[in-house]
């Protein structure tokens, strides 16, 4: 574990770097989300542009499905703690370069990209890459210049990050993202175009025989059991039809309950697989290969018999946000919209929710009619939405300047808060399944569906969970706490049923890391630490509230209700304040 405790600190302003040995951090906070948030707390005052922190975990490069990097930063979208997780190859590359975490401070004197390897950090000129409209081109140039194929990861931003879109993402390996909460805009402010991570070290273990035995068991379970089948076959778009059938797929900003049967079929994972699926990809060290690439073949506008083909990654959240949420149900058009946000480097969920809000706000006369030119926002109107995405990214008009700050900022400026689907200033994920989902978004440390999977509680319809605010608060906190352990190790949440607490403890013994027996309690402590940090940054638990629209739009599960929500949040807060509270 000697490499894990090494923290690499790069200062863009001073153009210097150094390494600190921090065994204390990894012993107290495990790794990943635990360590990155603790480092952000340490460094957030040191860098007026806001630090960007990356951390990997003790399972990285050792066990399959443990190849995610966690980024912590001050979110330009919420103004508070931001955290984003990305798969791909960055985690393995960072660890094999000999580091457990990377801290990027300051602002570069001109656009630069960093090269991180065993020797430390190089600061490279990226002026010629700045302003490119498609974020894949700078990646190709960095790839060709820096070498290291197969043992390398390239993080980069597109024009959205450069132009301060508060929900700009950082893309890695073309199809993976630090998607949510605006890390791309943090890079943009730092004049940091990208980071190339390269590493090829071995990762020693303390008990090689036990390690191999446990590894083989884990691999067999992942590759042979049905636990991963959903992600393996159709990928997460397999959720479209069942969620639509139960009435939990958000449609047209929740104005409409369902799509027509034909429209739902067009958006389904089955349809995308049959018509467009071209290739499947995996993150490093993952047998599942959940990344599904569609081939989008379009006629060139100017010449007959010329086609432009691009390869677009699709999953459930994207089909929701740039499909059902804005009434676009033609699969090819959804892919065109996904392709556009990918090129610009924007978070697809936030973009879709903002487009939906704009459409409804325009319908309801909250917005001046001359704002949009010829392409006015209308449900299902792909050309208008493509034009709006361009304007969000590039148009200097005050309305689009506000749109770059997010849906909460738009509704505060122009009205329409009742139908602005934001939770803690973060745009809503694709689950309108019931109060479990919506309270989960509020209570989650990132206000994300991945924090505690409240939507799964709605789908299971366990009567006891919803019998009282205390029961629901406990169920959400339990999942949130466990996911804090997974995101600190760092394990992919898709493998959460394989990495059960007992299994985690067993695996940790083979690599000589010490974890407490009560992992849930440890996870809760990690959550409390982040919450305390959020409060230092100005977050107020008592200000959390549900958007009115989710309370009035019918859900298949228990209908969200402001009073029940208030009581559940109060119960959760009570548990968190009580040091003797136990989830066991």
């Amino acid at each position: 574990m000697k490499t894990l405790r090494r923290v690499l600190i790069a200062d863009l302003c001073a153009q210097s770097f150094h390494v600190e040995e921090r065994p204390d951090l990894f012993s107290e906070y495990i790794g990943g989300a635990g360590v990155s948030s603790a480092l952000l707390k340490e460094y957030q005052g040191c860098s007026p542009e806001g630090p960007a922190i990356f951390a990997v975990g003790p399972f990285t490069a050792l066990f399959p499905m443990a190849s995610k990097t966690v980024a912590s930063f001050i979110s330009p979208l919420t103004g508070n703690y931001g955290e984003s997780h990305a798969g791909g190859r960055s985690a393995v590359s960072l660890r094999m370069a000999g580091y457990g975490a990377l801290v990027v401070l300051g602002q570069a004197p001109f656009p630069q990209y960093l090269v991180v390897d065993e020797e430390g950090v190089r600061f490279e000129d990226a002026r010629s890459l700045w302003g490119m409209k498609n974020c894949s081109t700078p990646a190709r140039i960095m790839r060709e210049k820096e070498g290291g194929a197969g043992l390398r990861s390239i993080l980069r931003i597109g024009p959205a990050g450069e132009n301060g879109v508060a929900y700009a993402s950082v893309t890695t390996e073309t199809y993976r993202h630090f998607g949510r909460m605006g890390l791309g805009a943090v890079f943009g402010k730092k004049k940091l175009k990208g980071i190339v991570l390269k590493g090829a070290r071995e990762t020693p273990v303390s008990e090689p025989a036990l390690y191999k035995t446990l590894y083989n068991e884990l691999y067999t379970q992942m590759a042979s059991s049905d636990l991963m089948k959903k992600y393996h076959d159709l990928g997460t778009p397999a959720n479209i039809l069942p969620l639509h059938e139960m009435g939990g797929l958000p449609v047209c900003n929740l104005k409409q309950r369902t799509l027509s049967p034909d429209e739902a079929t067009n958006l389904s994972g089955e349809h995308f697989a049959a018509r467009f699926l071209n290739r499947r990809l995996a993150c490093s060290h993952c047998p599942v290969a959940c990344i599904h690439l569609a081939a989008l073949r379009l006629e060139a506008p100017s010449e007959p018999y010329f086609y432009q083909t691009s390869y677009v990654s699709y999953d459930y959240e994207l089909l929701y946000a740039l499909g059902s949420m804005i009434g676009v149900t033609d699969a090819q058009n959804v892919l065109r919209l996904i392709d556009r946000v990918e090129q610009y480097g924007m978070d697809a969920i936030s973009t879709g929710v903002i487009l939906a809000w704009m459409t409804e706000a325009y319908e309801k006369d909250f917005l001046p009619h001359d704002l949009f030119g010829e392409e006015i926002p209308r449900w299902g109107h792909t050309e208008a939405y493509l034009s709006l995405i361009d304007k969000i990214c590039f148009d200097p008009a005050p309305f689009f300047e506000t749109a770059r700050k997010g849906c909460a900022a738009l509704s505060e400026t122009y009205g329409g808060k009742d139908f602005a689907l934001v939770f803690g200033k973060n745009e809503m994920p694709g689950y309108h399944t019931g109060i479990g989902a919506h309270l989960g978004f509020l209570l989650g440390i990132r206000h994300s569906h991945l924090d505690n999977a409240g939507y799964a509680l709605d789908q299971k319809q366990d009567r006891e969970v919803f019998s009282s605010p205390d029961h629901l608060a406990r169920a959400l906190l339990r999942e949130e706490a466990f996911r804090h352990i997974l995101s600190s190790l760092v394990v992919c949440f898709f493998a959460r049923n394989i990495f059960a607490p007992d299994k985690i403890l067993q695996l940790s013994q083979s690599i000589n890391i010490s974890l407490p027996d009560d992992l849930l309690q440890k996870g809760l402590d990690l959550y409390r630490a982040k919450l305390s940090f959020k409060e230092e940054l100005g977050f107020r638990w008592e200000e959390l509230s549900l958007p009115l629209r989710v309370c009035v739009a019918k859900t298949p599960g228990i209908q969200p209700d402001p009073d029940f929500a208030h009581k559940t949040l109060a119960a959760a807060r009570g548990f968190l304040n009580d040091s003797s509270f136990s989830l066991s």
Binding site: A61, P64, G150, R201, T203, K212, A223, S284, H285, P287
Partner: protein, 138 residues
């Protein structure tokens, strides 16, 4: 009997690199530092993957290039590295024009494929296979 690793169908490769981890794990440790197989994108992930494995050449240039006779050809397939003899000169790597002699930068020695087939065992999509044939080695 001759044993040889072969790439059956690169189109099915998803780039998971489990083969590389399996190869490196033969040492008992994790990571990719000791891998003698490589999977890399063919110019961006959308274009698929290039898999580089030792072809187990009948008249292996890497063996010929080694001035210390640290590489020896095994009759049943594969090359063996005699670590004590290796000086880390890198001539074997230069001699392999398909790039299948990989490098352990920590120990400054080549990572040589021994045709053990661990990589194929851990390939979830059956891209790799260990084949046995009756052909004779020179």
């Amino acid at each position: 009997m001759r044993i040889k690793l072969s790439v059956e169908n690169t189109q099915l490769c998803v780039g998971c690199q489990l083969c590389m981890y399996a190869c490196s794990r033969r040492s008992g440790n994790g990571g990719l530092g000791l891998s003698a197989i490589s999977v890399r994108s063919s110019g961006g992930m959308s274009k698929g993957f290039t898999i580089v494995v030792c072809r187990c050449c009948e008249d292996a240039p890497c063996v010929e290039a080694c001035p210390e006779k640290a590489l020896i050809q095994i009759k049943t397939g594969g090359i063996r590295l005699l670590k004590d003899k290796c000086t880390g000169c890198g001539l074997c790597r230069d001699a392999c024009i398909i790039g299948a002699v990989f490098w352990d930068s920590v120990n400054r020695q080549p990572n040589i494929c021994v045709q053990c087939g661990q990589c194929a065992l851990f390939c979830p999509h059956h891209v790799l296979a260990l084949t046995k044939s009756e052909e004779k080695t020179p």
